[in-house]
Symmetry: C2
Subunit: 441 residues, 2 copies
């Protein structure tokens, strides 16, 4: 992808594709009531860094008005995700919104990253989230329906995108629940090393089994603990095995049972509704870092190109608004498609020679002697919502064809004096070089 | 409009409207081959300020990576329009683009403004532009066809938007050509005072005739010069009067004749193609500041609310790329819709009580005893592309209706045990409170 100071830029043929992706995403998000919102690109820095001051500042771009740079410095920043601004939005507008509040938002975010392949300092995220008030907790089920819904919608959306571009691979969504970690560390008496062990489990896909074990050893885990962690998080799991897990391991721990219950419920909802079953897999080592998440976590990979990493993720978090306002007690679950990373992958897969470089399908050739009639034809065809252009001067035919060719316009429409006499216009297919005459009515 | 640090924020019911506007704009722009592009929000400050250092810096927001704020300071900035980034884009990608290059771009720009009504520090522009190489000048007509095309497309686009929202007023596009100024000042021997006189003419709509004359007097204009300027720029003009102008005033000045020729050509093209005739007016005092423009200039007002000011403008400029690269010799003409200002106006006109607060039209009520069947119905209706939601818990009916009501969802679908027995589901219209039973097949 083209980059300016590490920020992505799109050629026309790429932006046409991006707009197709946005259209599919919007259609799928909005049909289930995930209504669009809009927040400014700029937020107060203290809002963006309320939770993770250190991590956030190393990623953030500050913004200041040149005319008063000294007083603005460090006050305002570009958002680095759409989640923290959403927390601020929900708090600011809580009295006007109806909860559960289902929202979607496709927008750019900015992150101070080192430049590298598949990373850009500016990228589009396409988020869906449901937010509800914690005093409206629902029958112990804690709105697990929504975890299933956002997973299924993202699964369907990527499915449609893969179809649209005839891609070979398929997406797979891996889900887990962070309660596994609390339980695992607790039951293995590893609570003192929790941060370290947690980080090692998070890295499991990126390092060898040997290094994984070595790292755990360095984190003061015993052979038995290492063995147990490996056996547990690496096991292949499905919905049937999940429900037998507590019996198999003789576990009656409360956190463990909650974890199993939540995962089971979500898989049940997914199965009942969207037949996303075959693409959604439970995976015990998905823990998604130390960030916001408090329950379900998800990650999305392309089965044929797992090295690309996750192209959509998110999860459930119950405390985020509290960091901004202690009295704002909301829970939510959401999913975020990392559009720009996916596009990076997509543009590598597609044959750039074959991409449409323009939105127009027809070019009306400009002949000096029939320019008035050609303009009228242009007007008429445009009114029928044909995607069409008119060449601005009566240049040599070769030049006009070259223009059509350079843009990848498929058809040239000609209304010269010969055609006019017969009261027809002709359409030339620029690929086959064949012409057809159409009667004017 | 809601504001955060002077930056606009949209409620769901407002963003739904914005998306409708974008959809209309895109459809109209793209059908004539104005293909979308994308540039980063951030550019090098020196690019943004290449032409008007002083004006630009007073408007610009700088951007710096917090992690290296000292070295980034003043290096990078948020774009303040889409035109300067486009100039940089054309220079960077000149070898891959086919000229004339027709492009569209809907995106946010940022400007350091004092906060006030109808002004926001962050706003959406929707631009169309055509760029061509100056060595490809066309038969003396200098691609005037494109001036007519962008005017007509913006006229049609606003027309459709007004229809969509049943607005009373109509847009009027005022056009002129900056060559009038060169000629007028030249013929009145006012070249020494040109900057001052120019600024006064630009302010004509905002001040009284008396103040206008007084200001000209202060700028050392004689009574006769003041009289001539008034007579000339204030006259009502149309296409017939335009062509008689040189005879009427016995003018043979070259710049004058160019000016008349260009305006006449453009009006002729507009008339031939898009029947935008009645909404496009020639107006001799439209000069649009000192900026880029070198030929045609346009401005767009709402006939019933002229005090709102211009909601779309732009023009033709022949030198912009040269400020970035002396060898980059491109001309272009473009039009920019100021979406956010128009929305500010639109939101004041629409009855906010009646706006849809969600994208979903149906809510499936959740009954505990039939939750599985209701979920299946949800799945089925969703597959038919109904815009639909499922209530996440089997709460009291009152609570579920209240949710539908709060969101403005029109229909509630119920599949309770009574309905299930009859193998029907019922649809309740939330406005009329009437129900209808539909057979399940």
């Amino acid at each position: 992808m083209l980059k300016v100071w590490g920020f992505a830029e799109l050629k026309p043929e790429q932006k046409i594709i991006e707009e197709k992706i946005f259209e599919i995403v919007k259609r799928n998000y909005q049909k289930y009531g995930y209504t669009p919102i809009e927040t400014p690109a700029v937020e107060r820095t203290e809002v963006l860094t309320a939770k993770w001051w250190w991590e956030a500042t190393s990623q953030i771009y500050g913004v200041y008005w040149l005319a008063q740079w000294a007083s603005d410095l460090k006050k305002y920043s570009l958002r680095f995700d759409l989640t923290v601004p959403l927390a601020r939005y929900v708090i600011d507008h809580r009295n006007e919104l109806t909860f559960p509040f289902k929202k979607s938002f496709i927008a750019k975010v900015w992150r101070g990253e080192r430049q590298q392949r598949w990373r850009s300092r500016e990228f589009y995220q396409a988020d869906i989230d449901v937010i509800w008030e914690n005093n409206d907790q629902i029958n112990g089920a804690q709105n697990l329906f929504y975890d299933a819904e956002v997973i299924s919608i993202v699964y369907k959306t990527y499915g449609e995108i893969f179809q649209e571009f005839n891609l070979e691979g398929w997406v797979e969504i891996n889900i887990n629940n962070k309660k596994i970690i609390s339980w695992l560390l607790q039951s293995l008496w590893l609570e003192d090393q929790s941060l370290k062990v947690f980080g090692i489990i998070d890295s499991i896909a990126k390092i060898s089994r040997e290094d994984f074990d070595k790292n755990l050893k360095w984190a003061w885990c015993s052979e038995l603990q290492i063995e147990t962690i490996n056996n547990f998080v690496r096991q292949e799991i499905n919905i049937e095995k999940l429900s037998n897990l507590s019996e198999e391991f003789w576990i009656e721990n409360e956190v463990f049972l909650e974890w199993i219950f939540e995962l089971t419920q979500i898989m049940k909802f997914i199965n009942m509704q969207w037949s996303a079953w075959e693409g959604v897999k439970i995976n015990f080592w998905i823990v998604r870092g130390l960030e916001y998440y408090t329950g379900t976590v998800f990650e999305t990979v392309i089965t044929t190109d797992r090295k690309l990493g996750s192209i959509a993720w998110w999860g459930r978090y119950e405390w985020l608004t509290k960091y901004l306002d202690k009295k704002a007690d909301f829970s939510w679950v959401g999913f975020s498609m990392w559009i720009t990373r996916f596009e990076d992958y997509l543009f590598e897969k597609l044959d750039s020679e074959k991409l449409a470089k323009t939105t127009s399908e027809y070019l009306i050739i400009n002949f000096e002697e029939t320019v008035d009639e050609s303009l009228k034809l242009y007007q008429k065809l445009a009114e029928e919502w044909k995607k069409i252009e008119f060449y601005p001067e009566s240049a040599k035919l070769k030049k006009q064809f070259k223009y059509a060719d350079g843009k990848g316009i498929t058809y040239c429409i000609m209304l010269g004096s010969g055609e006019l006499e017969k009261w027809v216009y002709s359409i030339k297919n620029m690929e086959t070089w064949e012409s057809e005459e159409i009667k004017m009515n």
